[in-house]
Amino acid sequence: MNALQQFLAMGGYAAYVWPAYALFFAVLLADTLAPRLRRRRVLAELRARLARQSARQERKPLSTPASP
């Protein structure tokens, strides 16, 4: 058995040690990505809201009746 295989075998406890480490990194990765995705969504929603607002303001003069 070479050194790498021996390292990966973890003295026979590989089935417990590696899943523990995998979970540690998976959970923290998800925790890192969550605010980034939320940030993108929040800013996109805000831009959409601002675009709707400015569209409404531009439309207003046209929608008023031209003659009494």
Partner: protein, 252 residues
């Protein structure tokens, strides 16, 4: 507010200032977390010798114990921030308290699952209802309760106040988790690391453990900064400084 609080602290409490401050520090905190994490894991997985009783299975300690410490540390931060939020009604304190909860829940979850993966080969069981394990599970439910209560309200600030109240009540559980191994007979081993005295652990194993502890602290800081920034954008959506950020990022 009281005049003994320095001006820069007042300024840091204002959302746009904190947004910039956290944005400047966040990459450094994350870089330090990754660097220390790499060093700590190399020390723990490669350099440290196998344990004389537990062989290589003990290597779960390098993530299990730092995560457990973080679960209590983050709960304490959340409790203090909640207190500040309730007493002085500082918006940033609410943000820090509420955005700490998911990170704390993540670390508590890691603690429980890695502990289970460690318990199976060493104790012969995935789970047992003893004091340490049960109080840590209660800690997870407290974090989830704070998150749930916060989101149960239509008005976010009202939700934050209700959840902050729950967080303060739940803080009683933190010393229970910590002292559970001394107060009750439990399957869980006692503390090996002693801040004020001699630690019952070899230096070859102690330094990677402490390095990982520092790494998780910096990770928490990085994650909190990133979450607080996002939350401030959502909370202050109508304000000019947030509009400017939204427009700047659209043009990029």
């Amino acid at each position: 507010m009281a005049s003994w609080i320095p001006l820069w602290l007042h300024k840091l409490g204002s959302p746009p200032t904190f947004y910039r401050f956290a944005g400047a520090l966040q990459p450094w905190a994350m870089a330090l977390a990754l660097l220390l994490g790499a060093i700590g894991l190399y020390g723990g997985l490669v350099l440290a010798p196998a344990d004389y009783q537990q062989a290589d299975a003990y290597r779960i300690i390098f993530i299990h114990v730092p995560s457990a410490w973080m679960s209590m540390f983050i709960y304490a931060v959340m409790g203090v921030a909640s207190f500040v939020a309730l007493v002085w009604r500082i918006k940033l304190a609410e943000v820090v308290a509420m955005e700490s909860a998911p990170i704390g829940a993540a670390f508590t979850f890691i603690t429980l699952v890695t502990g289970s993966l460690w318990g199976k080969p060493m104790w012969g069981t995935w789970w047992t209802w003893d004091a340490r394990l049960t109080s840590e599970l209660v800690l997870l439910f407290l974090f989830l309760g704070v998150i749930g209560l916060y989101h149960a309200f239509e008005d976010r600030r009202q939700g934050a106040r209700a959840a902050a109240f729950l967080a303060i009540i739940g803080i009683i559980n933190v010393p229970i988790v910590h002292f559970s191994v001394n107060w009750w007979n439990t399957l869980h081993q006692g503390s090996t690391v002693n801040v004020f005295g001699q630690s019952k652990i070899s230096a070859d194993m102690l330094w990677p453990l402490l390095t990982m502890t520092l790494a998780t602290k910096f990770y928490y800081l990085a994650s909190l900064f990133s979450r607080a920034r996002t939350d401030l954008l959502a909370l202050e959506g109508g304000k000019d400084w947030v509009r400017k950020i939204a427009e700047d990022e659209a043009s990029r």
